[in-house]
Symmetry: C2
Subunit: 233 residues, 2 copies
């Protein structure tokens, strides 16, 4: 068994290994489709990678490649013993890196103090709608019969659901914050204070009216609620 070089495996690698292992065999397109309706719900992988990764894994001896006999003669991949082993190894290791919450809306909110008064409210509405919509997708998935999906995958989708709910509620709450709708006292038109002296304002809001939007009344993190259960299970 040619051991080839031991390549470094990335998340995509394991995704591919896992998906191929589970299905027995798969074409890149198969991967693309099944990833889209499973893990892709919370972690999106560009499809180009699902085409590029299998050959790479095959070159490393972790997958075996064949071709369809007729028709499009697509590449079909199966996992090898070496591949199985690497997958196992990964599954057995408890350490997983940092968790990442990549949400452009959140990033926007982080800098919302630099924006114009109406911005946050608009953003909050849009975000709430988007998350509610995704919530529906999860609901559909959850309604699938028990045998449509392995238990472990389903658990992750449960979490996806809970996550979307958390987000939806967060934005709805934020949007409902009275501090967001009242108080545009400094007319929104005086929005260019530091116009020609950009280097002058040490902590100046980009469009002024920054901290006007600040909501004084809302407390930070309710220390005490830590136990009340988000309702994941």
């Amino acid at each position: 068994m040619k051991t080839m070089v031991e390549i470094a495996l990335t998340p995509v690698s394991y995704l591919v290994l896992g998906e191929v292992a589970r299905r027995g065999s798969a074409t890149p397109y198969d991967l693309k489709v099944s990833v889209a309706e499973s893990v892709g719900n919370y972690w999106s992988f560009p499809h180009a990678q699902l085409y590029k990764e299998p050959p790479r894994l095959a070159a490393a001896g972790l997958l075996a490649e064949e071709r369809e006999a007729a028709g499009r003669r697509r590449r079909i991949f199966r996992i090898t013993e070496a591949g199985r082993h690497r997958l196992q190894e990964w599954l057995s290791s408890a350490d997983s890196g940092r968790t990442e919450l990549r949400d452009l809306g959140l990033l926007k909110l982080a800098f919302a103090d630099l924006g114009r008064p109406g911005d946050v409210a608009r953003l909050a509405r849009a975000q709430a709608v988007a998350h509610r919509a995704h919530l529906e997708v999860y609901r559909t998935l959850a309604a699938l019969p028990a045998d449509a999906m392995v238990w472990s995958l389903r658990r992750t989708l449960d979490l996806g659901f809970a996550y979307e709910r958390l987000m939806a509620e967060f934005w709805e709450r934020l949007g409902a914050d009275p501090a967001l709708v009242r108080t545009p006292p400094p007319p929104a038109d005086s929005a260019r204070p530091t116009r020609d002296a950009p280097s002058q304002g040490a902590a100046a809001a980009v469009g002024s009216a920054g901290d006007v939007v600040a909501s004084p009344g809302t407390q930070v993190v309710p220390d005490d609620v830590a136990a009340e259960g988000g309702g994941v299970g």
Copy 2:
């Protein structure tokens, strides 16, 4: 004012623009530090990018670059009118792309049916600990005086907190699932069924004992709890 080419802005770009705008001026190192203790809590940006991006933005006319007079003669960046404008524009647009939950632990769980019996329990424990730990970080941040942080940023950290709590509870609940600890009926040693015929098993578990771990009793997504509030605000 030389308009230069209008470059495409990525999340890092806005992060840098925003941070520079807020501080008035910043060196890449400043960015690295303040990002680490704010947005970096839920969305980590490799520090190399915080060194690379400002010059890029400067080349596009969105930042202005100077140097310290003495000492290390570090690069100091300030936002320009053009930069302010682009930032504003972004802050005003309500659409933000997909939200992403990049969590290796979750990916692992998704394929846990292919693993060995004890794996999930171990993973769950480790994940729970990690999330509880990060929860503490957020608690510390939340304890900071009101003027230590703009309201908008604080809101996002609130969400980060809620997110970590959600995760911690998810993994704890999962780890507590009796189905995980009982039932290693098929001896864990028969773990290599398809040893020499890797292509045979259409849906075979990598290490067998796959669906044994499945927890039949746990319902999928409690439709009704959608209103009970995760406790973000």
